[in-house]
């Protein structure tokens, strides 16, 4: 696309106009894609969550409930936007927009098709990490400016979790960097198409990235920011109307951005596999992105919530040592100079071994008891003094 526009404009306009026009078109295209994906994600989540729970989701508004996200958006926008009296006004108003910005910025560096990246910078992964980290600040802005003791507590908890889980998030990517020897996202995608997806070459990194991402995004089992503050609704208690819509959309955009990053870094981006080149690569990318989103919904449907101290212990004591070991093992493999298939086999086996060993060390499991033994003990208790 850039070549087409370049060919039209190159002789007739100064360079900066060409760059400006192509970038503008790219931004509009990405924005449209993101907004459409948001609506699709809301629909997928509600219907899929329903099917996991043996019920149909919303299926009345529009055919099969396809207009439900639109109805939700219209409803939330139509609510009264109450601003409490004693809030810190400019921080309060800026927080929703500030939350939305980093989520959508992540979409800028992702390659959607061969040669189709809006921001083709050499430090793609660094950009993603930086933008993700910025996303912590608006949460605290929202909690602080609400002038509400419980919002502040919710925001502080949210920050603690987000900051803690950034470390395993970024560290798990270092294994990929060691293998691919570059930070450039397009090169990493091409490496995957040539050598095999990082999903197989770095299984431990994938799982850790998924868990840490799920914690960053407030998805169950780690949704302490919205569900666990059992007294109020967390840092966005005092928001209503359009500001709340922005928080809501920002959450879904964030989830979709993470899915896109997972697809790019672990599942081969726009790559389609041998011989299936009839479907355009951008569609492959979108299909994989929605598939990972469905996996997020599946996790939400199944698992109960973790408690905040268990969550922090899990990050610091369990995930971070595992990522460090992953980096060490990958570095050794690259130094020795192994091909892809041995890397895949070794990494998978070592991932399982590491997890088992580290579980024993940290003993996060609780009661490790054989079920039939437990049941037998339960059923055959001798009667105590109090009963017959």
């Amino acid at each position: 696309m850039q070549e087409l526009i370049l060919s039209m404009l190159v002789g007739r306009a100064p360079d900066w106009v060409v760059v400006f026009v192509t970038s503008l078109l790219g931004v509009v295209a990405i924005f449209t894609f993101v907004i459409f994906s948001n609506l699709a994600a809301v629909w997928i989540e509600r219907r899929l969550l329903g099917r996991f729970q043996i019920r149909s989701g919303p299926n009345r508004t529009g055919p099969e409930g396809l207009l439900q996200p639109l109805a939700d958006a219209l409803k939330v926008v139509g609510k009264e936007a109450i601003m409490p009296f004693a809030v810190d006004k400019w921080v309060y108003l800026a927080a929703p927009a500030a939350v939305f910005a980093p989520a959508i910025l992540s979409f800028a560096v992702i390659p959607y098709a061969p040669g189709l990246t809006l921001l083709n910078i050499d430090v793609g992964i660094l950009f993603l990490g930086a933008v993700g980290s910025v996303g912590v600040v608006p949460i605290f802005m929202a909690g602080w400016s609400s002038n509400n003791k419980y919002s502040l507590l919710g925001a502080m908890r949210a920050i603690a979790v987000t900051v803690s889980y950034e470390i395993p998030l970024i560290l798990s990517l270092i294994g990929i960097l060691v293998l691919g020897a570059t930070l450039h996202l397009e090169t990493l995608v091409e490496y995957q198409i040539e050598h095999g997806w990082f999903l197989f070459l770095q299984p431990l990194a994938f799982i850790i990235f998924f868990i840490a991402g799920s914690a960053e995004l407030n998805r169950t089992p780690t949704d302490i920011m919205e569900g666990e503050s059992e007294l109020t609704a967390g840092f966005h208690t005092e928001y209503s109307g359009f500001k709340f819509t922005l928080f809501y959309l920002a959450e879904y955009t964030h989830v979709l951005a993470f899915s896109a990053v997972i697809v790019t870094l672990f599942m081969g981006g726009w790559g389609s596999g041998p011989g299936l080149d009839l479907i355009p690569p951008a569609l492959w990318f979108a299909a994989k992105m929605y598939l990972i989103f469905c996996v997020f919904v599946w996790t939400r449907a199944t698992l109960p919530r973790m408690r905040i101290d268990q969550l922090m212990g899990f990050a610091w004591k369990f995930l971070i040592p595992l990522t460090l070991m992953n980096i060490l093992i990958t570095a050794i493999e690259v130094y020795v100079g192994l091909a892809s298939i041995p890397i895949f086999l070794i990494n998978t086996v070592l991932a399982a071994v590491l997890v088992v060993l580290w579980t024993r060390v940290v003993s996060v499991r609780g009661v490790a008891v054989n079920r039939s033994e437990y049941v037998a003990r339960m059923m055959s208790q001798p009667t105590g003094q109090a009963g017959r």
Binding site: L48, G50, R51, F52, Q53, I54, R55, S56, N59, W298, T299, A301, T302, L303, F318, A352, V355, V356, W358, T359, V364, R365
Partner: protein, 168 residues
């Protein structure tokens, strides 16, 4: 191994996508009620009722309001037979204790109105509903039945004449 329990749980939940959802698509599909379902639309068979007011005495809430006056042949003529369905808790005791099987439970559950006094059903419109519940009414053979079949069913099952024809 840490994570195995979670993986098993995720598989169990995944299997449920492939099962048919249990949602009933109301209003296209209606719930099928059991024959003995105790519902609101009471049916009162005036020909069988003698005005003994056992139902009114049995009601824990005191919903039933009966006013009678004696006729020449010694029987009672019923002036007023009101059931306050707003107060009723559908316990079915009135239907259970009626000695002449003159009061029947209905099969309605979605009654609503804009005023509390509209919920009081009077002598004229009580028993206008077609479908009756088989609750405590053995001649219906365990099935619900229509209002106009009541007398015929009772005669056929018990062989006894209608109370009107019995001696006072």
């Amino acid at each position: 191994m840490y994570g195995l329990g979670i993986a098993k749980g995720m598989l169990v939940v995944l299997k449920h996508i492939f099962r048919k959802p249990i949602t009933q698509q109301y209003p296209e599909e209606h719930v099928v009620l059991a024959p003995r379902f105790r519902g609101y639309d009471f049916a009162w068979v005036e020909s069988r009722c003698t005005g003994c007011a056992t139902c009114a005495k049995a009601c824990p809430q005191g919903c039933i309001d009966i006013v009678t006056h004696p006729k020449e042949d010694g029987r009672y003529a019923i002036d007023k037979f009101d059931i306050d369905t707003g107060l009723c808790m559908i316990c079915g005791l009135c239907v259970e204790v009626c000695p002449y099987d003159a009061l029947f439970m209905g099969r309605g559950f979605d009654l609503s109105s804009y005023n509390r006094w509209d919920l009081v059903v009077h002598k004229d419109d009580i028993g206008n509903r077609p479908q009756l519940s088989a609750y405590f009414r053995p001649p219906f053979g365990g099935q619900s039945a229509n209002r106009e079949d009541v007398d015929g069913l009772y005669q056929a099952s018990t062989g006894q004449p209608k109370p009107e024809e019995a001696k006072p």
